[in-house]
């Protein structure tokens, strides 16, 4: 059917209102050989949306390596999983950007709830949360409000459900002023033999919905309802902001794990974006079966909900399970004990029809593959920008400032200052496995149960991204983000096993955004190949734009690494006086797109220096091995703010000064950045000198941070002043 013919179909305007294009509608009509009815169209509009179909990113994502020795579950499942010490470690990062911009507390809270359910769906017990946040500069009252409320929302959900929030990152940049980013990552552990898949199988098996009631909640549903021609007196039928109920999710968590433990489930899937529509269709597609769903059996929170509303509702804290008929009663009993609603809402059928029923009435009937697999995938039309895409930020740090003042200004800046006022709002210790809390080390360290050798192994987790460097060079910046995450793991003695990512970009139909996206994915792929680790899953969030254009290209990387012995780890700060301080790594710092450049009012553009990946990875290994052997007691990677800031941070944590002499004393040497490529380490002098590639530059101790050049120039800052600068930077905005 031509586009012209499609345009003359009666249903086309409605389809366009719901976000489909005319050719997409024509394709649907062709595939099902008729026009879809209201229920079917609502389902197509969601499943063929960018969010569910990945229509602008799927081809790009094929570049990512997805195989690995330790991989237990990969892309396509609710979350990925790798094997550590005989356990499955499941993890995934996901965005909740748009809802958070509307209502930051509930948006961030339900973002945490959503990613938790993805991990629970695997049958894993969530053990840790991390998050990556982006806001406009906190001098803007709106950004401060978003920060304050989003952090409170994240804490509210994670704290109440009893999962420790152990890490994260926050960055402020004007490009996020009207489009903040809230990415949440969850890590869980499971018995590898009990990992759940989401494929519906077994014709005749029952479909059980359990958890919260279904109401008219939902942002995704907004497009559907917005066009339902509601009169003024129908205000109560409008879609509503999703409210998180961590108490309900806690019960969903415990009940789900109990159901899996008792071997009562065939498959399990969370309800997230696009609600029942997406979870049911995906389960059917994965299993190559059909499903009948009777919406009359879905327990509702509100009266008079239409079938299509039930199918698109994004009410939180719900799960969908496939259960053998003989086990249904037992499933319902477990749910009842956890005070959860559970209903038998359908059946696995032969063939591939997704049928929606109201009692005996069929109100929707579409081939599953058409819904899930036949959405057109688009090729991007990338083009590098001819000039910088982003305006120069306002300068607030004069070029003439001396090294000392520059250091203090960087340390007390919102992007570098201590995150304590944020992370102390999170329970970091529940479940009694947090060996390294935020600010204690570069990655969070989580102990696992004692192994057969009597030793407690551990995992280390980290989340990172440096969008300004990505803006300057998408491939190089994304590669640096991967290396920085791996460097964080090396600092605590961990070896990377797998990576998850969240790709936050602007409108991919714009050539420059397409170029950013494709090249960022290339950088992530190159990093994974160099580290020898797979991408186990992730999420894509596109169309993040404000009136002034796209956000900075923001690939966020989450990584999990393994540690054979939880007790063999490091601290990010200096621990005692009189230890040797050394630098490790082939880092070649420059000021392009650095924090200092931003503070000086320079736009995020310029050439990033090329990097020698194998030398970088050799440095990671040297640090990791040194930490594991006990030679290195302090390890900190050199990232934002460069070497000067890294040394100050080592000093600030426990209030122990140092005296170092550097070969170069330029702004670039002191504050230039080359993420993931260099480390500050400290330990016993003889042991440190034996670390491959270590260049000893000084010793710890004293009440000052003293940095000198070989030619005699030097500056010195009292430890208390370093600490005050670092502690005050964010507190000023979160009183």
């Amino acid at each position: 059917m031509s586009e012209q013919q499609a345009e003359s179909l009666p249903g086309v305007d409605r389809a366009v209102e719901l976000g489909l294009t005319k050719p997409e509608y024509a394709r649907i009509v062709e595939l099902i050989a008729r026009e879809p009815n209201e229920v079917e169209l609502a389902m197509f509009s969601l499943l063929w949306s960018e969010h569910c179909a990945y229509k602008h990113s799927k081809k790009v994502l094929r570049r990512l390596p997805t195989e690995g020795d330790r991989l237990l579950m990969g892309v396509g499942e609710n979350a990925g999983a790798v094997e550590v010490a005989g356990l499955a470690v499941a993890f995934k990062v996901e965005s909740h950007n748009h809802p958070s911009a509307v209502e930051p507390f509930q948006g961030a809270a339900t973002g945490v709830g959503g990613i938790l359910r993805d991990v629970i769906a695997l049958g894993a017990r969530p053990i840790a949360m991390l998050n990556s946040l982006r806001f406009g500069h906190p001098s803007s009252p709106r950004s401060r409000w978003l920060l304050d409320r989003a952090v409170a929302g994240i804490g509210h959900y994670g704290n109440s459900i009893g999962v420790a929030t152990v890490g994260g990152e926050i960055h402020f940049d004007p490009s996020y002023e009207s489009n903040c980013l809230i990415n949440a990552m969850c890590v869980g552990i499971a018995d590898p033999d009990r990992l759940m898949r989401c494929a519906a199988t077994g014709v005749g098996n029952r479909v059980i919905l359990f958890g919260a009631l279904t109401g008219r909640d939902g942002i995704g549903g907004a497009s559907v309802l917005a066009s339902a021609e509601l009169g003024d007196d129908d205000a109560d039928k409008r879609p509503t902001v999703q409210i998180g109920d961590p108490f309900a999710e806690k019960k969903v968590l415990e009940a789900s794990l109990e159901l899996i433990d008792a071997d009562l489930l065939v498959a399990l899937q969370d309800l997230g974006a696009a609600g029942l529509t997406s979870s049911a269709s995906e389960m059917a597609a994965q299993g190559g079966v059909g499903l009948d769903i009777d919406v009359a059996n879905v327990p509702l929170r509100e009266q008079g909900m239409e079938p299509f509303e039930i199918m698109v509702s994004e009410s939180q804290e719900r799960m969908l399970a496939i259960v053998e008929p003989s086990k249904v009663a037992a499933v319902l009993e477990v749910c009842e004990r956890w005070e959860l609603l559970a209903s038998d809402i359908g059946e696995v059928t032969e063939g591939d029809r997704m049928r929606i029923l109201v009692g005996d009435n069929v109100v929707g009937d579409i081939p599953v593959t058409t819904l899930v697999d036949d959405c057109p995938l688009y090729d991007l039309a990338p083009a590098p920008p001819e000039h910088g895409l982003y305006p120069a930020p306002p300068a607030d740090l004069p070029e003439e400032a001396d090294h000392r003042d520059t250091l203090i200004a960087l340390l007390s800046g919102a992007n570098i200052a201590s995150r304590r006022p944020v992370f102390q709002q999170y329970d970091q210790i529940v479940q009694a496995r947090t060996v390294r809390r935020p600010d204690e080390a570069d990655a969070a360290v989580l102990a696992l149960p004692v192994g057969e050798n009597g030793i407690r192994p551990a995992i280390a987790v980290s989340i990172d991204g440096n969008a300004r460097r990505v803006a300057a060079n998408p491939e190089g910046g994304a590669l640096e983000a991967v290396l920085e995450c791996a460097a964080n793991l090396a600092c605590v003695g961990a070896e990377p096993l797998g990576l998850t990512n969240c790709l936050n970009f602007g409108n991919p139909e714009k050539p420059h955004v397409a170029w950013q996206l494709i090249n960022s994915v290339e950088g992530i792929a190159v990093g994974c190949e160099a580290l020898g680790i797979p991408v186990v899953g992730g999420n894509v969030s596109l169309y993040n734009e404000g009136p002034d254009g796209p956000i900075l290209p923001t690939p966020v990387i989450g990584m999990v690494g393994e540690m054979p012995d939880a007790t063999k780890t490091s601290s990010s700060g200096f621990l005692t006086d009189g230890q040797a301080v050394a630098l490790v790594g082939p880092f070649s710092p420059n000021l392009v797109s650095s924090e200092l450049a931003a503070r000086r009012g320079q736009a995020p553009q310029g050439e990033l220096p090329s990097l020698d990946i194998s030398a970088v990875i050799a440095a990671h290994h040297a640090v990791r091995d040194g930490v594991r052997s006990g030679a290195i007691q302090t390890a900190h990677d050199i990232s934002e703010g460069g070497l000067g800031v890294a040394l100050a941070e080592c000093t600030a944590v426990a209030g122990i000064g140092c005296d170092v002499t550097l070969p170069e004393f330029t702004d670039a040497a002191l504050f230039g950045e080359s993420p993931g490529q260099g480390f500050v380490i400290a330990g016993d002098a003889a042991a440190i000198a034996a670390i491959p590639g270590a260049r000893v530059v000084g010793t710890t101790g004293g009440g000052n941070l003293v940095v000198s050049a070989e030619d005699g120039a030097s500056f010195s800052v009292p430890v208390a002043e370093v600490q005050a600068a670092r502690d005050g930077g964010l507190t000023a905005y979160l009183p």
Binding site: E103, K237, V241, Q242, D245, F247, R301, Q316
Partner: protein, 75 residues
């Protein structure tokens, strides 16, 4: 004058507190209670009531998810 502002979750918006309390009541020995909704109560003294609506909209209530009702108590 003394003012009471009653802030309630909007119709259709999930009220996890109200739901949880309602579901717990029978077990606590309180039967026949339904439609429990839990909101907030703000009590204040104002000299000039003309700005009250604005105050509620901008600060006291989150109008995306809450409705408010102003009760002027006395002069």
């Amino acid at each position: 004058m003394k003012v009471l502002v009653l802030i309630r979750p909007k119709q259709g918006i999930l009220d996890p507190q109200g739901q949880t309390v309602e579901r717990a009541l029978p077990a606590l020995g309180f039967e026949g209670v339904t439609d429990v909704r839990i909101g907030r109560l703000v009590e204040l003294e104002v000299t000039d009531p003309s700005k009250l609506d604005e105050l509620c909209e901008q600060l006291l209530a989150n109008t995306l998810i809450e409705d408010f009702e102003i009760q002027i108590q006395e002069d």
